[in-house]
């Protein structure tokens, strides 16, 4: 059996009309089943543009120069309509206010199912399932305009999940939220990735609270994919900027520097510490400290 990636981009290039430089330049990458990809890049680097190519919003919704090919499960989407792809790929956007339109939260979730002419009983069953999954019982009859930003994003996630697509895309879905709601949403997304095997691709600015769930990082700069792979690999790529290090990793690096690669410690101890993988998350850091105490 040959391996087919869930998502595959081949030489994807895009230039917005009225824009002199390319927003995407020859982007190539493959995402495997069950991956949790974190798309990192400064603002204006092309994250949203890249994500929009995944379900054809680019080039269908934006005029400009498009080149290359996007494949989902080995099939090119060039000939497919965005609406048709809703069954394959669920999309959640950044702004909570501008993606909901139904009368109630419940109907927002039902909306994609109605679009695909699913029978009513089936819609009812699926909607209830999602409401339970995302704990939306309390707000299911409320207007999506009368709930908090975090609840709005959960509603949008619920709606994107309705058709049970195997791929989920999140474009800075938490950046309009308070830190507590953002963390809650990320946890939910991680749960969907872990428990339901959804392939997730997510763009974010905050690394510290996300990296524990992430299997791959994609780093994009000026429309070019500069690094792609497992987190530690990408962080050590020379193209990856120090500024975008997770706070924890950067603290570790500083500690390493101050202690001259732990040279101030006994040799055996030092070796032990260097053997502990570089910490990316708080738990990693604890492991590292533990390693420092219990080694020798």
């Amino acid at each position: 059996m040959t391996y087919t990636p869930v998502i595959e981009l081949k030489n994807v290039t895009f230039k917005y009309k009225n824009c002199d430089k390319f927003a995407l330049e020859n982007v190539n990458f493959q995402v495997a089943q069950g991956d949790f990809v974190l798309l990192v890049g400064y603002s204006g680097s092309g994250k949203s543009t890249l994500l929009k190519t995944l379900n054809g919003l680019i080039p269908h919704f934006y005029s400009g120069l498009f080149g290359g090919d996007v494949k989902l499960f080995g099939e090119s989407i060039a000939e497919k309509k965005t609406a048709q792809l809703a069954k394959t790929i669920g999309f959640v956007f950044q702004n909570p206010e501008n993606q909901l339109s139904a009368l109630t939260v419940e109907r927002e979730i039902a909306f994609p199912l109605e679009n695909f002419a699913i029978p009513r009983q089936e819609i009812r069953r699926r909607v209830n399932e999602i409401i339970a999954l995302l704990d939306l019982e309390k707000i299911q009859d409320k207007s999506p305009f009368a709930i908090s930003g975090g609840e709005q994003q959960l509603t949008a996630i619920g709606s994107a999940l309705a058709l049970d697509p195997p791929i989920l895309v999140f474009d800075e879905t938490t950046s309009h939220l308070s830190p507590q709601s953002a963390t809650k949403i990320i946890k939910k997304i991680a749960e969907l990735n872990r428990e339901q095997g959804k392939t997730v691709i997510l763009s974010e600015h905050r690394l510290d609270r996300n990296l524990q769930y992430v299997t791959k990082i994609a780093y994009i700069e000026s429309g070019q994919l500069k690094a792609f792979g497992p987190p530690r690999e990408v962080l050590h790529n020379k193209n990856y900027p120090l500024e975008l290090y997770p706070r924890i990793t950067s603290l570790y690096e500083q500690l390493k520097k101050v202690t001259d690669n732990f040279a101030i410690l006994p040799e055996k101890h030092r070796k032990q510490l260097l053997a502990v993988p570089e910490p990316l998350t708080i738990d990693d850091f604890l492991l590292f400290i533990k390693g420092g105490r219990e080694s020798v």
Binding site: K52, N55, L57, F61, K81, T82, A83, Q84, L85, A86, K87, I89, G90, F91, F93, N95, E97, N98, Q99, L100, S101, L103, E106, R107, A110, F111, P112, L113, E114, N115, F116, A117, I118, P119, R120, I123, R124, V127, S143, F145, A156, S159, A160, A162, L163
Partner: protein
């Protein structure tokens, strides 16, 4: 004043008896009542109609709002009555005709008020769907309606933001003032445009019109009380048609008119001569 009137036609979420009727029932109600209001030209039947419809205002639980709106339009109604009473010719009693006109206006205001008070924009759009209008149109209506409060709020923020940047809206001559509107109008439109664009992307990504056919989690369903009311309304409509075709004469008590001496014109003349007397003395 205009906000009062707008408010009067604004849907009020409530669980009144009238709210529970299907919008199609209420639509027929509006049609039948409008027909009758136009059919009758005499004061007594119109007063009876008014007396019959007013309890529905109470049932729909918007009496207070109704009263406020009525007070707001009272000058207009009085004007209708007075102008008719003074200027109408070729009728036996212009004042009666004027009053009839006034009641006609009030009945129509009540009937349409009840409809818009108790039919939500969403029910309205579902009604359109039932009448086989395209889904996109029905969706656009109910969505536009839902975004009105957001737009109002947004406009207020835009005005505040530009004022904080030193924009003075009411300064200078008319051209200067118009020019001062640009920093407000562009963000308002750009923001509305961006909003609809993002919404379009979002619904497209969730399968908008993916199939020719679509289903609905909820759709309108007539209940027994709707059937009963519809039956009654159809009966009334049949009577209306019959009357239009056959032109049966109305019973005489329905044709009652104000006695000559209470005519507005005669009252005015009497008042005038009384005044004249007063001054001549």
């Amino acid at each position: 004043m205009s906000t009062r009137i707008l408010e009067y036609f604004n849907y009020e979420q409530d669980k009144s008896l009238i709210h529970r009727f299907d919008p199609r029932t209420k639509m027929l109600f509006v049609i039948v009542l409008t027909c009758y209001t136009i059919l009758f030209r005499d004061l007594v039947p119109l007063m009876l109609l008014f007396a019959g419809v007013t309890p529905l205002v109470l049932l729909a639980k918007f009496f207070k709002k109704w009263l406020r709106a009525m007070i707001t339009v009272l000058p207009l109604v009085l004007l209708i009555i007075i102008l008719n009473a003074l200027l109408l010719k070729n009728v036996p009693s212009p004042t009666t005709a004027g009053l009839a006109m006034g009641f006609r206006f009030l009945i129509l205001a009540e009937v349409f008020g009840i409809f818009f008070q108790t039919v939500s924009p969403d029910e309205l759009s579902q009604m359109f769907i039932k009448f086989r209008f395209p889904y996109s149109l029905a969706w656009a209506i109910s969505t536009a309606y839902r975004f009105i409060p957001t737009l109002t709020k947004e406009t207020a923020i835009i005005v505040a933001a530009q004022k904080a940047r030193g924009l003075q809206i009411d300064r200078g001559n008319i051209f200067k003032r118009l020019k001062n509107m640009i920093p407000l109008l562009i963000p308002i439109f750009a923001s509305a445009f961006r909003r609809s664009w993002q919404l379009a992307e979002a619904i497209e990504s969730r399968g908008w019109n993916a199939m020719k056919k679509r289903t609905f989690l909820y759709s309108l369903r007539l209940k027994w009380w709707d059937y009963l009311t519809l039956l009654l309304l159809f009966g009334l409509f049949a009577l209306f048609l019959l009357q239009v075709i056959k032109q049966y004469p109305l019973p005489s008590w329905m044709l009652w008119q104000l006695p000559e001496k209470y005519e507005l014109k005669s009252l005015a003349i009497a008042f005038w001569s009384w005044l004249k007397n007063l001054f001549q003395k």
